[in-house]
Amino acid sequence: MYEHLFEIYRRIDAETRSVKAVTVIPQPLAVAIAHKIPTCIVLESGHGNTQVCPISKYPIRNAIVAINRGGSDANTLTAEILKDAGYGDLAGEEAIVRKVKEGIGLVPLNLERAVRAAKGEPQKYVARFKMPGTRITIDLGEESWTRFLIGEYVFNPNHELYRSYFRRGMQRPSEVRIGDTRFQGMLDFGDAIVHAVERCPVELQPHLYRTVLLSGGNFAWTVPAEFRTISVDAATKVRILLHDKGIEDVNVTLAKSPQYSVWRGCIVYGYAIPADYEWSWEGMEGWAYLH
């Protein structure tokens, strides 16, 4: 991957002689830099996958935990929920499914309690969504409790309520290997953080737990005012998952301006890294000079 990126810039430079040097920065490192935090855990979750990266001045590469689960898996579950609710014709439209996920999906404080409450008072928790600019309105009616499944699935897909979906053919997030990296499928985010931290030196572990930074579009979950007692935002959910594992005093924060934080981190990195710090394949850092 890195060689391929360098090769692209080498070709650009051969044509234009406009690229003096190139470097590659892991995305979680750029996020930590943008947030001015030298020691932390960055949980980066995008469309296809998630990674947990401990950082202490450097990314601790052998402690990174990669998860083969991202926003697209919550889309898959949303499509199944739409089919069950009689909207099979819309379930194949990826853009609609994503909008529905964002419009009705909620992250429960506690899944079992939320489902029980929503089944008891379906009108209070009704999941109704109108597609902007269209006549399409989706109403999950009696199945509105499933809106809590969508948010929970991102953070922890292990609850028995998901089994019926797997049995009916929904693809379970599977373990895959890409290069040297093993992406686990079903690991919950709390366990993933604990696994990553426990691969780091013991003396560093309390410092890493102190700041957990959530980054990426998969953490943009809103909490409607009327559901504040039963649903939570991403930071609170991760804090709860860690609490369940016995990890206290954790400061979990959502990256500010997530659409810009990676760029900002890259700017600081390029600004501060010495010009004579040459690229090293051992450290995977520095400037690779092209001419």
Partner: protein
């Protein structure tokens, strides 16, 4: 298409030249550039009306009279065929062509000519004195301007003339994500082999 106002710098860089000076005169531009440690004079006629060939001859004459050890003539690509390269070659004068789209191309490399050690005339001496005075005034002006500007650590980095780790703080009008960012000192301490 006119050579007047054309930006030679990048195109000459592509041929390994470092642009030192451009003197724009009425009839042609005198471009002084350095390559392989030797200064070259490149004469580029401003006019592209070569029907009378007067401006071309003018440029060749000016080039051959030069004190520079390497001299080249630069003409627009579409009129290069008018130039008899064998004559230029016999006098050691190089030929370059330029084109607004494709830039500068070196058709015939100049031969290093022996410097003529004839004594400088009074006029030439006065010209040199004037040029030194102009350069001194320019340097002084640049020094004054630089002293007014806030320090820019990036400039120091690029020039490589500041000891590692001795960074100035970002300027007060720097973006918030740069200000008080502990990563700046952490990253600036990175060393090859560390």
């Amino acid at each position: 298409m006119s050579a007047r106002g054309y930006d030679w710098s990048n195109h000459l860089k592509g041929l390994g030249f470092r642009l030192l000076e451009i003197r724009r005169e009425d009839r042609f531009q005198r471009i002084v550039a350095e390559r392989d440690g030797e200064a070259s004079l490149i004469i580029a006629p401003n006019s592209t009306d070569f029907d009378e060939k007067a401006s071309l001859l003018d440029a060749v004459a000016s080039a051959s009279d030069s004190q520079f050890s390497r001299v080249a003539l630069m003409v627009p690509k579409q009129v290069a065929a008018l130039v008899e390269t064998s004559i230029l070659e016999s006098h050691g004068i190089g030929l370059m062509t330029w084109d607004p789209r494709r830039g500068v191309c070196e058709v015939l490399g100049p031969r290093t000519r022996e410097r003529r050690n004839r004594p400088l005339g009074e006029a030439a001496m006065q010209e040199l004195v004037d040029r030194i005075s102009r350069l001194e005034a320019t340097v002084m002006q640049l020094l004054i301007e630089r002293s007014k500007r806030p320090a820019d650590p990036r400039t120091s980095l690029v020039m490589g003339n500041v000891p590692m780790g001795e960074f100035d703080a970002p300027a007060s009008d720097a973006p918030d994500f740069l200000k008080d960012n502990p990563w700046i000192s952490i990253l600036s301490d990175r060393r090859t082999g560390s």
